[in-house]
């Protein structure tokens, strides 16, 4: 991300130190991870020690310091999803994408992660791709669901990145 774009984010938050989490969220929405040089730039512009930014960035699981694919696939492994076969869905996903949890596909399209509950237990097993929730997913539905995202530009789903969209596949 260019320095100008970062300055735009910082301006939005009025260069407040207390808004650092918001700044990092916005940066991650753009880049999908937190690039080192961008964090250095933020630290300089806010005259906030880089160490303090890293402390926050490493504390929260949503922030990633390593590059991630365009689409983030989160497989819920919470209790409800687990008993309904989330482990098998995850295995199928790993096989289909050819990556392990925490890795990114070679074409930089997908990153695979697990999460311990997304709070939508009634829809389990649930897989969250980007901002879209795919409920009652089975190993058989994995391929067709992922295929839809192959051509999709990342932010087509919704304008506001933190707005959630619910989708139940039948």
């Amino acid at each position: 991300m260019g320095p100008k774009a970062i300055d735009r984010i910082l301006k939005k938050y009025d260069y407040e130190h207390s808004s650092i989490i918001g700044v990092l969220q916005d940066l991650q929405d753009e880049e999908n991870y937190l690039p080192e040089k961008d964090l250095e730039h933020i630290s300089e512009r806010l005259s906030m020690p880089l160490a303090r930014i890293y402390r926050i960035a490493t504390f929260y699981n949503t922030f990633s310091l390593t590059p991630r694919g365009k689409q983030l696939i989160n497989v819920c492994l919470g209790t409800a999803c687990h008993v309904r076969g989330a482990a098998r869905v995850l295995d199928r996903l790993k096989m289909y994408l050819g990556i392990d949890v925490g890795e990114m596909t070679k074409d930089r399209l997908f990153s695979l992660q697990t999460v311990n509950c997304v709070g939508a237990c009634a829809l389990g097993p649930i897989v969250v791709i980007g901002n879209e929730y795919h409920g009652q997913i089975t190993p058989g539905k994995v391929e067709s669901t992922i295929k839809k995202y192959r051509k999709k530009p990342r932010k087509s789903a919704t304008k506001s990145p933190r707005h959630k969209k619910l989708k139940i596949e039948n």
């Binding site: 080192e36 020690p49 880089l50 160490a51 930014i53 890293y54 402390r55 490493t58 504390f59």
Partner: protein
């Protein structure tokens, strides 16, 4: 002045002081690893736990961050405090079995083999290095990274903190001596942070006495000191 008792003896403290500080000043022996008088109390190591009686109720609490209050009664050595400290020492011993200061504490409190899974770490996450770097030195070169069982102390990106002036405050303050400093004629290295800085030679005696970067930093944060002051070592100034 605030008057209260420690183990039955009457002691006096000032407003803003904490119980541990007053106890140590009066010669009471309370074990502690994460407390230093130059820094804000942090309450991380849980070794300084004492029993405090206030308004008829007694409870176990850390003395390093407990403020002195009029009329409280502090017990530094009871069955409860010993049990609490033993537990803490056992956990610390399981984390860092090779650290002398923890081995000594285990001996003193007769803690044997820990029941927990034994690790081989040398850092107890007391946060002293991180706090001294921020509160005293003011460069904020190192910090806590991650959380939970993955938590550790280190520079951003885990090596070579760009703001570190290699002053060695973290080396000095570390209770387990896990941060090492190595110095040659031309360079100083803080081994744990992988930070190496070139040394400056004294203009008068020729001895290399401090890293260039450190003296630049001192020059920046001090006012009204002539620039050539930093060209000479402490003995030649």
């Amino acid at each position: 002045m605030i008057t209260f008792t420690i183990d039955g003896f009457e002691v006096e403290g000032e407003k803003g002081q904490n119980v541990l500080q007053v106890a140590l000043d009066n010669g009471f022996d309370i074990p502690h690893l994460c407390y230093h008088e130059a820094l804000k109390p942090y309450g991380a190591c849980r070794l300084c736990q004492v029993e405090v009686t206030k308004g008829g109720r007694t409870r176990l609490t850390t003395s390093c961050n407990y403020p002195v209050l009029e009329g409280i009664s502090v017990q530094t050595n009871t069955e409860k405090t010993t049990r609490a400290r033993k537990m803490v020492i056992e956990l610390l011993l399981a984390r860092c079995p090779g650290v002398p200061i923890i081995k000594d504490l285990a001996k003193e409190y007769s803690v044997g083999e820990p029941r927990f899974k034994v690790d081989n770490d040398d850092c107890i996450l007391c946060g002293l290095c991180e706090r001294v770097c921020r509160e005293v030195v003011g460069v904020d070169a190192i910090t806590f990274l991650g959380r939970g069982s993955d938590r550790k102390v280190g520079p951003p990106l885990e090596i070579n903190p760009k703001t570190c002036i290699a002053c060695g405050a973290c080396v000095y303050i570390c209770p387990t001596n896990c941060i090492k400093l190595e110095e040659t004629e031309s360079e100083r290295t803080i081994v744990r942070w992988e930070r190496t800085l070139p040394m400056k030679k004294c203009k008068a005696c020729g001895r290399s006495f401090a890293p260039w970067f450190q003296l630049e930093y001192f020059g920046k944060i001090t006012d009204g000191i002539p620039a050539d002051f930093w060209d000479k070592c402490v003995d030649c100034r």
